[in-house]
């Protein structure tokens, strides 16, 4: 009897230690980046282009570039993702189609990000002739975001009660009218969560844009969707691996990392907050 209690005590302490270590590790990472990054961030850092071969000035073009790439990716992935989710939940296709699509979505979600980069390089940069550009990068990132948007939309659509659909159909609405006027509006917050989650994911991705969109340094801002861009995550990588002033560059990299981290964390916090509220309304 006594031995049992000791084992239980030890076991539970071990579990607590795992949880604590998990939070501690990640807390340390965030702490170091915040502590050292804050010193680098000021108004000039946020609004100016880099100067003096990346040792002075700011990262504004990289912020703008990340904004363009992310918006492009979402614009591409959103209609496709929502359509896929609507098809799977509303048009209730045959079992094998559902399985096939689910397997392909799960696998797409598991493809290593650098492989997306190679796909984008071959298909968008070369075959389609878009070159290394915002367009190629956005499309590549869009494919990567697709599974995230599909699964969030699917969850949102499934949560809409069946009786809502039946009520609409009983009033004489067609299936499309029901989807457009009743189901989609009800699922909107959930779909929005998916969009926000995918923004967080896409904004931080580096490997897919290495060969499809990103440039280390550009004079001025991009002019069209066929321009190369600077992007925050790639900027961090470039600062750490290229250039001739490692110390000053590390400082700028700390600032850029903090900026990216703050962007991604606040975006995913927002998504999780909206989703928690959404789940509560349906489970209440």
């Amino acid at each position: 009897m006594k031995k049992r209690n000791i084992i239980q005590k030890l076991g539970f302490s071990a579990l607590f230690a795992c949880m604590a270590a998990n939070i501690l590790f990640l807390g340390t990472i965030i702490f170091f980046i915040a502590a050292r990054g804050l010193g680098a961030i000021n108004w000039e850092f946020l609004t100016q282009a880099p100067r003096d071969s990346m040792t002075a000035g700011g990262v504004a073009p990289a912020i703008v570039g990340t904004f363009y790439l992310t918006s492009g990716a979402v614009l591409f992935a959103l209609p496709l993702g929502v359509a896929c989710a609507v098809y799977l939940t509303e048009y209730s296709p045959k079992g094998w189609i559902v399985n096939l699509l689910r397997i392909s979505i799960n696998n797409l979600a598991g493809v290593p990000s650098v492989v997306f980069g190679l796909f984008g390089l071959t298909v968008f940069v070369k075959y389609a002739g878009f070159g290394v550009s915002i367009l190629s990068g956005s499309l590549t990132l869009g494919i990567l975001a697709l599974p995230v948007i599909i699964s969030a939309s699917q969850e949102a659509l499934t949560a809409v009660p069946q009786s809502t659909r039946e009520a609409s159909l009983a009033l004489g609405a067609t299936q499309w009218e029901t989807i457009r006027r009743v189901v989609l509006p009800a699922a909107l917050p959930g779909i929005l969560t998916g969009v926000i989650l995918s923004v967080g994911r896409v904004a931080g991705e580096t490997a897919p844009i290495l060969f499809t969109a990103a440039a280390f340094y550009l004079k001025g801002y991009p002019h069209s969707v066929f321009s190369e861009v600077m992007a925050l995550p790639y900027h961090i990588y470039a600062l750490m691996t290229e250039g001739t002033h490692p110390e000053i560059q590390t400082r700028i990299a700390y600032g850029s990392s903090l900026l990216l981290l703050a962007l991604v964390l606040s975006v995913s916090m927002l998504a999780i907050f909206i989703r928690a509220r959404q789940r509560k309304t349906y489970h209440a």
Binding site: Q8, L15, A83, Y91, S104, V115, T122, V264
Partner: protein, 294 residues
Amino acid sequence: MNKKKELAIKYLFTALAFASLVFLIGIVLVLFKEALPIFTKVSPGAFLFGESWYPTAEPPEFGILPLILASLWVTAGALVICVPLGVGSALYLHELAGPRQRAVLKPVIEILASVPSIIYGFFGMVILAPLLQNSFDLPIGLCVLTTGIILGVMAAPTVASISEDALSYVPRSFREASFAVGADRWQTLTKVIIPAAGSGISTAIILGMSRAIGETMTVLMVAGGSAVIPRSIFDPVRPMTAAIAAEMGEAPVGSDHYHALFAIALILFLITFVFNIAAEFISRRFRLKLGLSR
């Protein structure tokens, strides 16, 4: 007229729904098409098991064994860290955390899972590598050990999140039955709940592994980049993803080197594909076992 419109819309949605499948097939086709030319120069056996990777030497050598072993070593290192951390955290959340604690910790873990890999790579490069270098007196801080730790910490929230889902699917009655025959909480956890959620937890571990082996930016920054067969955990290495990311920019389009890099990507894709299918298969069996429809 209306009926035609309804049908047209249905077909439109059907077509769009297949986008993921199309992209997946597209990726496979591109990888095969760009990878196969290298096998006219090097036999698949020599490519996979060749021990030297000197793609730009004259004559070049395309043996990717050092790269494959590097990927396996860092992934193994990541597993050593992320399995206890991830699964332990999930068990803690499920078993010990009160409702209040859980309401905070669960979203925190999910938010942490979204930290971009470049941030982990940066942290590994500027903080962890110098730290390990000093404390173990190493010639170089960028090595298997550093990479394994960083990848493990990075995958832990994902593993925790999916394992916790699996644990929450175990019906309450299992626990009650176990208490009823006199088991304490620890016995219930280890002898009833963990076995019942076992396949769900293995799915989580496989997905964590898949994430670690496919991770690019982190390993590119902290693995050290030397393409030799690792002998110890303090050796710098060049995993497959790092080789692709680092060398693609320099390989002339259509050259042997270019095709060889696609062949590495193909192998990487096949590895993660097998992992994902395994995870899918196991989790379906898990849902059937617990009598869950979804």
